[in-house]
Amino acid sequence: MELIYIIIIPALLAGLSLIPAHRKFASLVTILGTLVVFILSLNIAFSAADGMEVVAVKNWISCDSLGALVLLLVAFVGFTAAIFSMGYIEKNVEEKNQRKIRHYYAQYNLFLLSMLAVPIISQVALVWIAVELTTLMSVFLVSFKNTPEALEASWKYIVLTCMGAAFALLGIFILYWGTSIPGHEKFTWAGLIVASPNIPPALLKTAFVFVLIGFGTKVGLVPLHTWLPDAHSQAPSPVCALLSGVETTTVLYAILRLLPVLKIHPSIGAETWLIVFGIISVGVAAFLIIQVKDYKRLFAFSTIEHMGIIMVAAGLGGYGSHYGATLQIVSHAITKSFCFFAAGIALLFVGRQDIASVRGLIRTSPVAAIALITGGLAIAGAPPFAVFLSEIMILKSGLVNGQYITTGLLALFIIIAFCGILFPINRMVFGKPTEYSEKTNLSVTNIFALVVAAVPVILLGFYVPRPLQELLRQAAASLGR
């Protein structure tokens, strides 16, 4: 029943946000609603960690461990980003344009709804629609600033991801064809696994390639990534946190779901596809990070890098690397959203996005500086943060599997990206400060959101709570066969 509430609440919130009430009404209602959604998902995650599949409508709406993990992340980032939006959006709207703020919250909730729907829908064709809706609901959030750059970014975003969606649609049709050949298996993720031994490998392979290309566009796999840094740098920071932190993850989740289906036919070589695409993404992103001149783009490229790492980890196979992959999914989502909050605060303070114009932030705005350096260290993979743990785990299991070349390349690219992220952030934070004409007072909500988002970033580096560990373990097991 909780699953139904999770769908209903954001839909209600979207409607409530449009009511022209007090100017803080929409934001407060959204924060409260997303908090409820977060608590409900926490509850579902606990049940899933006990090994129970939460079912609301059999074969249509249900949630197992992997789904619960993604659901939890979406709900958490949705909640923190809602808090962050409260102070941020008002400062970014000309003369307190109330209508624009209300529209922002309505779209924010619809976007959240579409992302929450992906992990809890078990009918594959409907998952495709939910993924497509995540794009359509977020286009106007990306173009929120209404500058020529933001409009350009959102146009590229919608065109490329809709092209991808059409490819994925054909892949889904072929998958359906596959399940209908052997018998009357239901077209759900579980049904696909049951039917997979009887599906001709040629069908599975073609379907997988179409889905990989199609959804890969949304994840930001390298030849198809060109929209990602644009959209993720032009959107308002709380939206960036959602786009970069969890939207990519939810779509990657849909790809990873096919992994156990494909493993039955080793001739398809699904793992190789994932590793090759993943390594190329990590490598290209690492070299693009070096030349970046805009700090929000920096974090956007780092998203491409992390998606690549997760793909490689999923492709390496074996329980160890799958556990690493699921841990990386968690650590990336929480850290990246924190990074974008930090970037948002820096942007509020400085008013410019290019790295060169920011120096010595530690003197002028200690909050922004500490947040940026923490986020930078955490996302680059420095100890003692969560990303470090998951990356080490992936590299270690790569060595155990005997994939020396892949592991070596991965380690090299991670180190390049590490330097590429930390040098510019170091320059922004330390050094001789530049003067800024306008001083903005940060709202309490911004700092509060930052603190809430920082809790798991710091905590997970030292200690993974027992239920989460259990959830990760089961999710990792469900990636294998």
Partner: protein, 227 residues
């Protein structure tokens, strides 16, 4: 039995004819310079999709496919052209697109190569079944998908790019109705609804770009890129 065979062969012929025309319309969208003309060809293509769905629905006696044919006609031939014309100003349609990334003869040659590639992709798939309709529809659908994608890449105007995406979906559905005739109806309805949202969102975005930047040549917007 005799009757059945006659009906079957007639149905196959009708479907083959629709398929051939479908490919032609996909080429037509590439070859047209006038924005309005490519919209009209898209409408014709959608009618062909509906016709094929109708034929297949009759063959499989599947109510789903009749519904698909119905919603395709309503949404793609009536609602979408109406919405696009409503949202985006007249001036955009009157425009003749001079500059494409590649000129039209080259484009058509590449399109031929794409069609051959589509047959190459789909032949291992068609081999798993003996059903004639799959063998007809699947390669044509894949070709429609690829040609639509090609349109999006070479066109610089906003509306032709939207039409390219819609014709990609048409291609996917043209293949889909043959290989997945009994997909749950709710999924098909949602997909149709989804196409409608795509058009709405892209239409409104085009209007904003037109108002803010003063052009709908989205291919020329390149302020965001790596140096």
């Amino acid at each position: 039995m005799q009757d059945y065979n006659v009906v079957f062969s007639v149905l196959t012929k009708i479907d083959a004819l629709t398929g051939g025309l479908f490919i032609l319309t996909a080429f037509g969208i590439i070859a047209m310079r006038q924005v309005l003309a490519s919209l009209n060809i898209f409408v014709f293509q959608s009618i062909l999709l509906a016709a094929s769905a109708f034929v297949l629905g009759y063959q499989h006696s599947s109510i789903h496919l009749f519904v698909v044919a119905g919603i395709t006609v309503v949404i793609k031939t009536i609602l979408i052209p109406y919405l696009l014309k409503r949202i985006i100003s007249k001036e955009v349609y009157a425009r003749r697109e001079i500059s494409q990334v590649l000129n039209i003869p080259t484009s058509l040659l590449i399109a031929v190569a794409l069609v051959i590639f589509a047959y190459f992709i789909s032949s291992p798939l068609s081999n798993v079944t003996d059903e004639i309709f799959v063998k007809l529809n699947l390669p044509i659908g894949v070709a429609g998908l690829l040609l639509g994608g090609y349109v999006v890449i070479v066109r610089r105007e906003a509306v032709p790019q939207v039409i390219g995406i819609l014709s990609m979906e048409n291609g996917a559905f043209f293949a889909g109705i043959s290989i997945a005739p009994d997909l749950p109806l709710i999924a098909e309805l949602a997909a149709a609804f989804d196409v409608l949202i795509i058009v709405l969102v892209m239409g409104i975005l085009t209007r904003r770009i037109h108002e803010r930047i003063g052009t709908t040549e989205v291919g020329r917007l390149t302020s965001l890129r790596e140096e």
